[in-house]
């Protein structure tokens, strides 16, 4: 693999694989990413599997008014978390067009995911 085709790598890759509202995984994974960034870590985020639905527009409060995670996602830039990836295979499974997602993530094809993982010294999966 040549360097010019490899994604830019940070210190910590956080992989988010869960949908909003159905569980606390997305929120708890995001909390780790935000705290790591606040500590000066260069954090990359990869939305994988059901996690890609976190980027769907027009989310709102949950069953009993639980907070949406969308406002937290909008804070990522403030925390200097700028590397946002989304899994191509998951997008096509859900029939989602990358252009209609929040935050304009970069789409990673299958091979590029392994590459992103390889380039990060630390990876946490949620």
């Amino acid at each position: 693999m040549s360097d010019e085709h490899e994604p830019l790598a940070g210190d910590l890759l956080v992989i988010l694989r869960h949908a909003p509202h159905g569980s606390s995984w997305l929120r708890e994974g995001l909390d780790v990413a935000l705290v790591a960034a606040a500590f000066g870590t260069d954090v990359s985020l990869l939305f994988m599997g059901e996690g890609v639905t976190a980027l769907v527009e027009d989310q709102s409060a949950g069953a009993l008014g639980q907070k949406s995670t969308a406002p937290t996602l909008e804070m990522l830039e403030m925390y200097d978390i700028e590397t946002l990836w989304v899994e191509a295979e998951a997008l096509s499974r859900f029939g989602l067009d990358p252009d209609e997602l929040m935050l304009a993530p970069r789409v990673l094809e299958a091979g590029a995911i392994a590459e992103a993982v390889r380039k990060h010294p630390r990876v946490l999966t949620f």
Binding site: G22, G49, S60
Partner: protein
Amino acid sequence: MKLHIVNRSPASHRVHEQALAAMGPEDRLLLIEDGVQGGLPQLVRHFEAIAGRLYAQREDLEARGLLGRCDGSVQVVDVDGFVQLTEQAEHTLSWY
């Protein structure tokens, strides 16, 4: 008629297959929580066998920004409609 309730996404889990295997010809299936992802046009094909008997909970679609994306073949019901479905069914089964 029994009401089957599925709260997991067909994109990640095979739980919906268990529900389908257990359904009789009159039974209905309600998607709630992450299960409502199954109402997306790309995923609703998993429920072809029960066309006309597939429901999804409105509040859960809304919270996820999926209400406008839900396939037209899915009957969208709010929580009051959920209670009505349980009234009409002689029993409910949950698949999680």
